[in-house]
């Protein structure tokens, strides 16, 4: 892991979470997506230059234990609202990617009290098309290389040589996939009710999309999200697919910085 920094632990209402905490200043809650939390990812360091980053692994992901009573994104959104309350954090910037973006949107719909801003990075979570339109490709029914092609501008970025990984790293990959299935299997990566309540999001919101996201495109899925959140800003990042914080960390951090630097609405 870069920086030699290991995650610590946090307990919220009896739920134990692995968490990376880094930097000083305004609280930034990072909610990871299906790929889980990599404490050595360059973008985390760049975010930590802008505030105090709290980056937990959702229950079942990474080293965070499975919790029997937590099995929906709804549960995760309450868990993280509780985390903000337990730490008495205010003016928090919540940033979530993909599955984590869905969690962030559910939090903001429920309560914006402690939120100062919301950055949704190619968030999932809404139903856009009709019942016969598969808005989100079925990652559980596609070959892994096809999933990588859809999610990365450069699919080589997703290539993993299992032979070079430790048992712990392989276990994290397996657990991240299992936890993704737990939260997102059905309804598939969405809450049928979420879209109709997105208008409740009041903090300044930035929707960030990789210009080369072939998984959920800016033009289709991104546009639907944008039209559902009043006043949301929409920006794309060139050279990036579905995970711009991984493929273009500097550009990703610059967009967040630009958004946070603005006067509050």
């Amino acid at each position: 892991m870069a920086n030699g920094s290991h995650p610590g632990w946090l307990t919220v209402h009896g739920v134990r979470l692995e968490i990376v905490e880094r930097g000083q200043g305004r609280p930034i809650l990072w909610l990871h997506g299906e790929e889980g939390l990599d404490p050595g990812a360059p973008f985390l360091e760049l975010l930590a230059a802008q505030g105090r980053v709290l980056a937990p692994s959702h229950p079942g992901f990474g080293h965070s234990p499975d919790v029997g009573s937590i099995d929906t994104v709804d549960d995760l959104s309450y868990l993280y609202l509780d985390l903000l309350a337990a730490r008495n954090l205010r003016d928090v910037v919540v940033i979530g990617s993909s599955l984590g973006g869905w969690v962030a949107a559910e939090m903001a719909v429920k309560s914006s009290d402690r939120l100062g801003g919301l950055v949704l990075v190619a968030p999932l979570g809404i139903k856009v098309g009709d019942r016969e339109t598969r808005d989100i490709p079925d990652i559980f029914a596609l070959p892994p290389d096809e999933v990588a092609r859809l999610q990365y501008r450069d699919p080589a970025r997703a290539a993993v040589d299992h032979a070079k990984l430790s048992d712990d790293q392989l276990t994290m990959i397996a657990r991240n996939r299992e936890a993704t299935a737990l939260y997102a299997w059905e309804p598939y990566f969405h809450n049928p009710k979420l879209r109709q309540w997105l208008h409740r999001i009041t903090p300044p919101t930035l929707l960030l999309w990789g210009a080369d996201d072939r998984f959920v495109t800016a033009a289709y899925y991104g546009a639907a999200y944008r039209s559902a959140i009043p006043g949301a800003r929409f920006e794309t990042i060139d050279g990036a697919g579905h995970f711009p914080h991984i493929e273009e960390p500097a550009a990703f951090a610059a967009r967040v910085r630009g958004f946070l630097g603005e006067p509050k609405a």
């Binding site: 070959p143 299992h162 299992e178 299935a181 059905e186």
Partner: protein, 381 residues
């Protein structure tokens, strides 16, 4: 009472194009490859074969699978309903109802009660978790499946055994406020229950209940571990020692007059393994297998039995106890080797038809088994 043998056929649709033309025989193979006119002939042929099995003195087993050419029984209840009417004396085993994948356990309770009444109490009701390929077919989440499985089981058993009007069920997975099934099962308190177990962990839960535990193609050590865990769990709980009729083993079986004829029949049965072309996203949906198994798969260190399914060959399959084949003495010896290795079992589930094994060959294999091998198994103490 000695061993009981059950004739089981997957009712495959084997007339497929070259496997190079498709990447999966399960989940996504277009059904334009299925000709319903040929399919009708096959259904009737397979039902005839089950009736012949009964005439020969074998018991009957059916199963169900979904969205696959390897098995054209997406509803075990439907085919068993037909067999309940067309047979008179055989025990009728469904192994099984994939209850972790079914939306309505109460419907399963109704169907099974109905078949049991049709058959005047001859139903043996199996419950299975469902194979990994069927997570997509059923749209069911592969994680925490056993929790859902046992809730479905509890609800079905309660529906079968409640006779005083509706009860309420508001569980984690299933909700019914007025459960009151008609008909109720013919057998009291309910049909015997069988459960398939592939791992020692799941065998422990079956052992607690005292149901029949069945192993499918798990070979010498896999089967020994499952049966051993069942027995151990009962001993831990100071429950009565289970009789041999609590244990069942399923293998591909073909008896010929000579070893060569037996092997030739077995090679045709191996179609079931050879044709099972399924890509990894369907064989290993996340959460279906234990995390450690997934990690071992990434490292390539899972036990050899997994590899055997990838490149099936008769020699290794026989050495590992997945296929019993040859002349009657050979087959008897092979069955007894498994029997002795695993501490004995009371039920042999005979996978006796697959792929291009035609009707005459299928019937001959059954006849040879019944005439030359079965009497020795029935005579086991």
């Amino acid at each position: 009472m000695g061993m009981r043998a059950w004739f089981f056929s997957e009712n495959a649709y084997h007339l497929l194009p070259d496997s190079k033309e498709y990447d999966s025989i399960r989940v996504k193979l277009p059904n334009r490859y299925y000709d319903p006119k040929i399919g009708a002939d096959l259904y009737h042929r397979f039902i005839d074969e089950w009736q012949i099995a009964e005439e020969l003195g074998l018991e009957i087993m059916v199963n169900e699978h979904h969205q696959t050419a390897t098995n054209l029984n997406p509803s075990a209840a439907v085919v068993m309903g037909a067999l309940a009417r067309d047979t008179r004396k055989a025990r009728l085993l469904i192994l099984g109802n994939p209850i972790a994948n079914r939306r309505e356990p109460v419907r399963v309770a109704e169907e099974m009660a109905m078949v049991d009444v049709y058959a005047r109490g001859r139903l043996e009701c199996g419950f299975v978790r469902g194979v990994p390929y069927e997570m997509s077919a059923g749209n069911h989440r592969p994680t925490r499946m056993m929790e859902r499985f046992w809730e479905a089981h509890d609800l079905i058993v309660k529906a079968w055994t409640s006779h005083d009007g509706p009860f309420n069920w508001e569980g984690k997975y299933f909700h019914h406020r007025q459960v009151n099934i008609w008909p109720r099962p013919y057998q009291e308190p309910h049909p015997p229950i069988w459960i398939t177990a592939l791992s020692p962990g799941s065998a422990r839960a079956v052992g607690e209940k005292g149901y029949v535990v069945a192993c499918f193609l798990t070979g010498f050590d896999g089967t020994k571990n499952v049966f051993g865990s069942y027995r151990e769990r009962r001993a831990e709980l100071r429950l009565p020692t289970p009789a041999l009729d609590r244990f069942a083993y399923a293998a591909l079986v073909y008896v010929g007059e000579t070893d060569e004829e037996g092997y030739a029949g077995a090679r045709k049965l191996m179609w079931y393994l050879e044709s099972n072309k399924v890509p990894p996203q369907f064989t290993s949906p996340p959460g279906y297998h234990p995390t450690a198994t997934t990690v071992n798969a990434m490292k390539g260190t899972n036990p050899g039995i997994f590899k055997m399914f990838q490149n099936p060959a008769l020699g290794p399959l026989m050495e590992n106890g997945l296929v019993f084949a040859g002349n009657p003495d050979s087959v008897y010896r092979q069955i007894m080797k498994m029997y002795d290795h695993v501490g004995g079992f009371g039920h042999l589930l005979i996978m006796g038809q697959a792929g291009f094994l035609d009707h005459e060959e299928t019937v001959k294999g059954m006849q040879m088994f019944v005439r030359e091998v079965y009497p020795r198994l029935k005579a086991l103490a």
